[in-house]
């Protein structure tokens, strides 16, 4: 890891660890917007992490940007950092102004699509996207839509969208977003040749993979710590072989999730062309379920309460694994690539990753 990477990572980690307390997380669950924390994050320049300096960004390496999200995931940061990073990346690619506040992206589900067409001097955009992260809080919504065989980035502001509230299991906003109306020419720009909606899905998946790996690492620490503290039958439960074997399984999946996040981060820049993003999201998603199950089993009833912090992480794991494509989605995609490669092409395909 380069020195810059280390500094960014440590600084972000310090900020999140200091600020994202259980109280703030409980507040976020009741719908509070953590404005102070967002301001601090903006002051660090993190929302511009994935934008090159030539476009006014910070120009972090994509792998380092993913590491920031990993650290955020470990702290269950209840803010649209990944989404704003992504939105700005696409805005910059299209030559549109960056977002000056929190932003989000749409569509985020493989089946949702917007309809964009020329209307008068400008454009008309219509359509609905569901499960859009933080739509209610976004000052800018980046929408991708296809028209005439090209993919366009559309920069929408507050007044141009209607949202309906919905949530993931961690009570993070996952809203429905409705658009139907004119958009000025200045807010619409084509993306570079070869960039498409699939890239948004893939890059979102890569960042969720990073977040899951972070959360899983923290869950491992918490669970080992708890096992060493909690006594039953006269000794810490971590001394019981049954618990030890379970925690070893947890650690194995944590290692796999970490490797998966590394693979996904390395593929991030390539968007939908990257198979390692598919691999990463699928593998980390599988780990997420196993890890949450074992962590709760070891924590027992106490981990099942709202007071204990475990659920801030496990509820996110149960949510994130299904966002930007669940395991079945990405496993299937990888399987189809193997089928296309044919039996004798399977190994070359794997060895190239």
């Amino acid at each position: 890891m380069s020195e810059t990477s280390q500094i960014v990572r440590d600084t972000a980690n310090r900020l999140f660890t200091e600020r994202i307390s259980p109280q703030r997380l409980l507040g976020a669950e009741t719908g509070a917007w953590l404005g102070e924390e967002w301001t601090l994050i903006e002051e660090m320049g993190l929302p511009l992490a994935m934008v090159g300096e030539e476009h006014g960004g910070v120009g972090l390496d994509d792998v380092d940007a993913a590491m920031v999200i990993r650290v955020a995931g470990a702290n269950a940061v209840p803010l649209p950092l990944a989404e704003t990073m992504l939105a700005n990346r696409f805005l910059a690619a299209a030559g549109l102004p960056l977002s000056s506040g929190p932003a989000t992206v749409a569509p985020v589900r493989p089946t949702d699509r917007f309809h964009l067409e020329r209307a008068g001097g400008g454009w008309n955009l219509s359509g609905t996207a569901h499960r859009v992260p933080w739509a209610r809080s976004a000052q800018t919504v980046l929408v991708l839509a296809e028209a005439g065989g090209q993919t366009f980035a559309i920069r929408l502001g507050d007044g141009q969208v209607r949202t309906e509230c919905a949530h993931n299991l961690a009570v993070e906003p996952r809203d429905s977003l409705f658009v139907d109306g004119p958009v000025p020419d200045t807010a619409v720009a084509p993306l570079p040749e070869g960039t498409g909606i699939g890239d948004l899905m893939a890059m979102g998946a890569a960042l969720r993979t990073a977040a899951m790996a972070g959360a899983i690492g923290r869950v491992l620490e918490m669970t080992v710590g708890y096992a060493n503290e909690r006594a039953q039958f006269g000794r810490p439960i971590g001394k019981f072989q049954a618990i030890q074997q379970s925690l070893a399984v947890l650690a194995g999946h944590a290692a796999a999730a970490s490797g998966a996040a590394d693979l996904a981060a390395e593929g991030l820049s390539q968007g939908a062309r990257s198979l390692t993003v598919a691999v990463g999201k699928a593998r980390a998603g599988e780990a997420a379920g196993v890890v949450a199950t074992i962590a709760h089993q070891v924590h027992g009833a106490i981990g099942f309460t709202h007071e204990h912090s475990l659920h801030f992480l496990t509820k996110r794991l149960w949510s994130w694994r299904d966002e930007f494509g669940n395991e079945a989605h990405w496993n299937r995609l990888f399987g189809q690539r193997m089928a296309e490669a044919g039996a004798d092409g399977v190994w070359p395909l794997i060895a190239a990753l």
Partner: protein, 381 residues
């Protein structure tokens, strides 16, 4: 190696009529009751509904008539239980009393306890909670610290019970606590029948990870219990609790907690199911059918006066796995995001199931504890 066999369930008198009766009742009572509530299953609390069940004679079904029971067979009772669960009926109010508090009193209670309490349970008007777990005594029941000290006129209780489901709605608690020396792990404990309105009892809510309230902390501060509150023999608490376990661990509630999700999944997949989806669903159905067979076998053994604690542990261990597997398979088959508050029934039911699934292998004996019991039965400990 102890006997692990599961005899064929008793061939009951024809239960078809009873089953039809229960279904008709549920169809009427639960018309329009949404899947998002049905999924709560035996965690759903509705005192009015319990009262109606009592009026139909479906609580305390197998108890003697002299105590308000109906002297029906264990299999008839089983039919009612499983129909309630399959429909996702809100049965939490009376479930504990019907399943274990009543049977405990019937077995070792005093004539006075039986006469005063059992008919009210059977009427669906008197609800129980279980006072077993404590802050430092979850899996290790013998480590309870709550203590009842003999005083003039009865007992004085001090201590804290934790994870007491629906204590805030219950009328009474079966309290498990220490009455003897602290170093006598199993010998020095007793059970008491506790009126929860007594002075000195404080019931505090504990929110679960989804923010819902059903757990409580119940604090006893110099609570005075009359002599008549003792259940069974002083010092016999451990043995009495152990004999409750087969009731607690073998019923259909131990594998049907996510059955409503299973049904909604079949609904969502519809008739154009792919062969692979049919295989995945079929496998879950297969598991449920076999579990039902084993569970009914235990019901028969209980009716015959045997103590199938080992078989009950097997049912609960296998059952929790299937209950937990259903949401995992559902989300892969449907590629949907779970959302507890969604308008979409499947998403909401899935969300509830995912959030609650971890509890299935904790409540009523953790997976590790159950497997330890099974290992002991195998002669390994």
């Amino acid at each position: 190696m102890q006997d692990f066999s599961f005899p064929a369930p008793p061939t009951a008198p024809d239960t078809a009529e009873l089953r039809a009766e229960v279904r008709a009742f549920l169809a009427a009572e639960l018309a329009g009751y949404p899947a998002a509530k049905r999924i709560r299953s035996w965690s759903g609390f509705d005192a009015e509904f319990s009262r109606k069940l009592g009026q139909r004679g479906w609580i305390g079904m197998a108890w003697p008539k002299q105590y308000g029971g109906h002297e029906r067979s264990a299999l008839e009772r089983y039919v009612v239980l499983e129909e309630l669960l399959a429909a996702g009926a809100p049965v939490a109010a009376h479930w504990i009393a019907d399943r274990q508090s009543g049977p405990l009193l019937l077995k070792v209670g005093t004539e006075e306890q039986k006469r005063s309490i059992l008919p009210r349970i059977a009427a669906g008007e008197f609800f129980f909670c279980i006072g077993m777990s404590e802050p430092d005594s979850g899996s290790d029941l013998a480590a309870v610290r709550t203590r009842a000290v003999p005083v003039e006129g009865g007992w004085r209780v001090n201590g804290t019970k934790l994870w007491t489901t629906y204590a805030h709605h219950a009328h009474a608690m079966i309290l498990y606590c220490r009455t003897g020396a602290a170093d006598d792990r199993h010998g020095g404990t007793s059970q008491f029948l506790v009126d929860l309105t007594l002075p000195g009892i404080t019931i505090r809510p504990i929110a679960d990870l989804s923010g819902a309230r059903h757990f409580n902390e119940v604090v006893f501060e110099d609570v005075l219990l009359p002599h008549s509150a003792l259940i069974g023999q002083e010092g016999d608490g451990w043995n009495q609790v152990m004999s409750e376990l087969a009731y607690e661990r073998s019923g259909p509630e131990r594998f049907m907690s996510t059955f409503v999700l299973f049904v909604e999944l079949v609904r969502a997949l519809g008739s154009q199911m792919t062969p692979d989806a049919a295989g995945a669903l079929g496998r879950l159905g297969v598991h449920l059918v076999v579990l039902r067979r084993l569970s009914r076998s235990v019901a028969g053994m209980l009716q015959d006066g045997r103590n199938p604690a080992l078989q009950a542990s097997v049912v609960k261990d296998l059952g929790a796995l299937v209950e937990q597997e259903i949401p995992e398979i559902a989300r892969q088959l449907m590629a949907m995001e779970p959302d507890l508050r969604s308008h979409d029934a499947l998403s909401a039911v899935l969300g509830y199931s995912i959030l609650n699934a971890p509890a299935f292998s904790l409540r009523g004996g953790t997976r590790e504890i159950l497997r330890g019991i099974i290992a002991r039965g195998l002669g390994l400990r």
